[in-house]
């Protein structure tokens, strides 16, 4: 079982993701440069946070044309697991691997803090080890995390159980006050219809050790290992 961390120019959470995955899973991890076209031998990929290609034009917009993304699409079609965190989520929506788009935060401010996520489904390879409804303590750090999709898409996400996480208050309520960026339905993370692609704005790669304030991020990486072990 091997993990890859895709490195776009301007990524800055690549080493965090590498270290987090290696530490939590104990599995081999390799960096994958954005010019790479072969993903042979990888079972799961992480698209890390940062500002890919400076995030010029739109967040994640230039990254979708990088050679590696063509291979990532084929990798997804083959059933490989892909988790996009923060800028990685933005790249996945721009690439059409996940529906919707990430807009500027409703309050115009970059928000960097710990918050509560409610796990909305256990029926994904990324959340199989987390009971539905469980609250996770995981931080965000972004200026463009306002999840947007048209009404039809939002209904489809609900109907297909594709919403993985929502921003909630300490009691688990998806209130407007608990929504840090204006995301539709307090959505913090979604999976694709095939359930092998997860995009989330919060950072499990910044919450995998008690010294960082939380270990809850481990649950996501551990779920991926479980899914790949039983695949």
């Amino acid at each position: 079982m091997k993990f890859g961390v895709v490195v776009f120019p301007g990524a800055y959470c690549d080493h965090d993701c590498y270290y987090a995955v290696k530490t939590v899973t104990g599995k081999p991890v390799e960096f994958v440069w954005h010019q790479e076209t072969s993903l042979e031998g990888f079972d799961a990929l992480v698209l890390p946070g940062g500002f890919s290609y400076g995030d010029y034009l739109r967040v994640g917009a230039i990254a979708k044309f990088s050679p590696v993304m063509r291979s990532v699409k084929a990798f997804v079609d083959r059933g490989g697991l892909v988790i996009g965190i923060c800028n990685g989520f933005q790249v996945l929506t721009e690439s059409g691997l996940l529906p919707g788009a990430l807009l500027k935060n409703a309050g115009s401010r970059y928000v960097c803090r710990y918050l509560h996520l409610r796990t909305e489904t256990s029926s994904t390879p990324f959340t199989s080890g987390i009971e539905r409804g469980r609250l996770l303590h995981i931080p965000i750090g972004h200026g463009d995390g306002n999840y947007h999709a048209d009404e039809d898409t939002l209904h489809r996400l609900e109907d297909n159980d594709q919403i993985a996480f929502r921003y909630v208050d300490a009691d688990g309520g998806p209130t407007p006050e608990a929504n840090p960026n204006g995301s539709a339905g307090n959505i913090a993370g979604i999976v694709n219809e095939g359930r092998n692609v997860l995009g989330m704005m919060p950072h499990p790669d910044r919450s995998f050790d008690s010294i960082l304030g939380s270990e809850d991020g481990c649950l996501i990486f551990e779920s991926m290992v479980t899914a790949l072990t039983h695949a």
Binding site: A61, E94, L103, N105, S108
Partner: protein, 80 residues
């Protein structure tokens, strides 16, 4: 060949940048502005090497697939 492409957010999409500009116009001594929507403007020069028959398709593709995210934006091409 010079072309301009104007990209705007769809009317249903929130524009915090435009709202921030609009909200602070009073302090700049400008009143009477109800709404500001911020967009993008691109000046594009297409090489003369591209056959004239292919230019339209090339610019359409550039505007649609690269400069615009159809989930949140609309585009308008201004042909000189």
């Amino acid at each position: 060949m010079q072309i301009k492409v104007i990209v705007t957010l769809k009317p249903t999409v929130l524009d915090p940048q435009g709202m921030t500009i609009q909200r602070n116009l009073e302090t700049a001594g400008i009143s009477g502005v109800n709404d500001v929507r911020q967009g993008k403007y691109f000046d594009i020069e297409v090489s003369d090497d591209v056959a004239e028959a292919d230019r339209r398709a090339l610019v359409e593709r550039l505007a649609k697939d690269v400069l615009t995210n159809p989930v949140i934006e609309n585009y308008q091409i201004v042909w000189d």
